[in-house]
Amino acid sequence: MSEYVIEMKDIVKSFGNVHAVRNGQFTLKKGEIHSLIGENGAGKSTMMKLLYGMYPIDDGSIRIHGDHIPSISPKIAIEKGIGMVHQEFMLVNELTVLENIILGFEPRHGITIDFDKARKTVEQYINQYGMDIQLGKKINQISVGEAQRVEIIKTLTRGANVIILDEPTAVLTPQETKQLFVILQNLRKDGKSLVFISHKLNEVMEISDRISVMRQGNYIGSVSKEETSPAELAKMMIGREVFLNIEKTQTKPGEKVLEVKDVWVSGEKEISKIRGVSLDVRAGEIVGIAGIDGNGQSELIEAIAGLRQVEKGSVLLDGKELGGLSPKQIRKAGLSHIPEDRNTRGLNRSMSIKENLIAVQVGEAPFCKGVVRDDKETLEYAKQLSEVFDIRPRDPEISTQSLSGGNAQKVVVAREVSIGGKLLVASQPTRGVDIGAIESIRKILQEVKAKGMGVLLVSADLEEILSLSDRIVVMHEGRITGRLKAEDANEDNLGLLMMGGTASAEERGSTT
């Protein structure tokens, strides 16, 4: 028997002209947590999808428990005890949590599904790992964190002893991440082997036994946790030194550019998801909204942008009432908006970089003459932005389909900060983005502020909130539970407020 549960050797995989993996190497020992890190587009997900049999490999070999497996399908992978939690959740919205968990491995009663048995089996695992999952709800009614746990339970009920987690923490709050880590530790204790993909080096350092690094489809190397440091890892990933802690530029806040007054907003499933939120943002400052995902931040942002109806209350942008205005009119009034979901909101993946860069200015000079689009002007502009914002590759004519997460996000950021509005709403601007890109996006936000734009930043990443914001508001269950000056805030008091606790009296007094 081999020392390794999994051995992937000399893996090659391309999609058309994209060489996703050129030289992939990966091994996994029994009972270890092995992290796989690399920039966006380094080929991490592809490596793991190949292991899970989602695509055939072009070249190389895969061994599971020492056996050479010539061709893998998800079915075979599952039979061999491999489970995968995908970067994009593989959950069917219209089905219930329980149905999703048992899909493909349904306990049967003849041809019908034995839901009782299914429930019992699943509950057993839920209890064993102390997870909080409501089996009867539909997927579109549960939070991201819960969906994540559903994915893990899914692998467990299928008898996985190797579990691959592709960027599981990208969408989690610190608290949820902590909970997840407890679960992962327990799984390791039970003898499961885990692959953990992440961009967050501190998490990687916290949880892993070994760490492998990939860059541009190539295997760079593996190190054990004890022998390395975040700085070294970052260098391996990017090929140069990185500085994440940006120095805050000091500016004097000017006029109020955004005033939200006692706003109530409905959510997808419930009315009044937001209940009476008031806040303001001045020119030349960054206001951070901290909060666990699903506490109304998304709804608030969408309401400001005119993408969701406001039940009551008023929003003023640069003194202009936004109630009843269309998204287009709100943009005209001075809003720039980096949405939380770059794939469906932020970008049109079927169009080129060039076209995405002018998406909000279509039909406006100089990108059109009359009703005709001006391609030359557009290309010129796009080339310029690509240069300034370091969008790679430098060819604005190519489709955004093939862009890595970080570069895709840069397209959105470039577009939104270049239209020169008065307020920039940035929702999760660095989620799922590699550190190189995080570095540059954070720098851009600082520059925007320095130019006198007001910035409203929503992030589940407390470190990001803390390092960028001048003022911080905390949201919990549709209400604001705390307002702090940046210098008074730290992970602990923010965490407490995010969980619904109250801040101490003096902190309250210091709100503006």
């Binding site: 943009r331 908006h337 049109n348 909000v360 059109c368 689009r373």
Partner: protein, 343 residues
């Protein structure tokens, strides 16, 4: 550029394969494929009349395929083009018969405008139901085609009847000039060609085209960048309707000279077919329309000049179309490339 060349290559290869499979089928039923294809080609191209007939059936398909594709670009599956052709036709007939106080050139233009307007308004119904009430436009347009057929049928056998043995209207007082007589190909062909080129230009070069494509590919993104998906969806459905109405107007003013009951049967669905085969690519749709028109008039010619029964001709045409829908040759090539690379 490379992509375009590849696509054309693909279409040509697919057609060749369709011919080959069609040949097998012809052999199977005991006819000579070369003779049959000869008859088919002669049926479509031999002499002024045949060419004219081919072009005459090409004209409405150009517009209906374009109409379907335009709606598809905004994410609508508009089965209702046929109904729009009917209503455009009846409107053109009504105006062409009754508004004789207008000078002829003006009347002609008004016929077109009227036909396009009424057809666009007809398309507005499913569009609004979909945009505001999420009612499937496929369902509504399938049903509305029958409604349009019966409405026009009622009008030409009742209030607008010419009082002759057939259900048809009085002749219109303006006609699109015909050429290549005795076939009924007429100036409408050029109007249709210009319109289609114009539509390609609109969709690829104008702001409106960009919005349509955005809404069709990602409505949620469209909303976010300030394009109203509902508005654009409705506008392109209406545009699609207007194109259908134009086809109806050309058929009435150019081909028949009056409104003939049920004249548009199959025009909408054939246009839809032409567009679907090329996956709603506006540039290829006209070529596919031409291919279908050639098949159609070729099939008629085959019936006229050989002993091959119509059912066999139709069977071969259908086999042709089925093969033409498949992208298989392209796949062959892809695989081959891959194999070569991996070696």
């Amino acid at each position: 550029m490379n992509v375009a060349v590849k696509s054309i290559q693909k279409i040509l290869l697919t057609m060749l394969l369709a011919l080959a499979i069609g040949a097998l089928f012809i052999l199977f039923i005991g006819e000579n494929p070369l003779e049959a294809y000869g008859a088919l080609l002669r049926g479509a191209f031999n002499g002024k009349l045949k060419i004219g007939t081919t072009l005459a059936s090409f004209t409405p398909l150009l517009l209906t395929s374009c109409a379907f594709a335009v709606a598809a670009k905004a994410g609508a599956f508009n089965v209702g083009v046929e109904g729009e052709v009917f209503l455009g036709g009846i409107t053109a007939a009504y105006i062409g018969i009754n508004w004789t106080f207008l000078p002829a050139p003006v009347l002609m233009i008004v016929c077109f405008l009227g036909a396009m307007t009424v057809a666009a308004l007809w398309a507005l119904i499913p569009a609004v139901l979909k945009a505001y009430y999420r009612v499937s436009e496929v369902c509504v347009t399938i049903l509305m085609n029958s409604v349009a057929l019966y409405i026009t049928s009622y009008l030409v056998s009742g209030p607008m009847s010419a009082g002759v043995a057939n259900a048809q209207s009085l002749p219109v007082t303006v006609n699109l000039p015909q050429f290549m007589k005795p076939s009924s190909v007429n100036a409408g062909l050029f109007i249709a060609l210009i319109t289609v080129v114009f539509m390609i230009w609109v969709l690829n070069k104008t702001t409106f085209g960009y919005k349509v494509k955005t809404v069709g590919t990602n409505p949620s993104h469209a909303e976010y960048v300030g394009i109203s998906p509902k508005k654009i969806f409705i506008q392109s459905m209406m545009l699609s309707g207007a194109l259908g109405g134009m086809a109806g107007c050309i058929e009435v003013l150019g081909v028949h000279g009056y409104f003939l009951n049920n004249f548009a049967a199959g025009l909408g669905s054939n246009g839809m077919l032409a567009s679907l085969i090329v996956k709603n690519n506006l540039i290829f749709a006209p070529f596919m329309s031409f291919f279908l028109a050639v098949l159609k008039s070729g099939a008629m010619g085959m019936q006229q000049s050989t002993g091959v029964p119509k059912s066999i001709v139709d069977t071969i045409t259908a086999v042709f179309i089925i093969v033409a829908t498949m992208e298989l040759l392209f796949q062959f090539k892809d695989k081959k490339n891959k194999k070569e690379k991996s070696k």
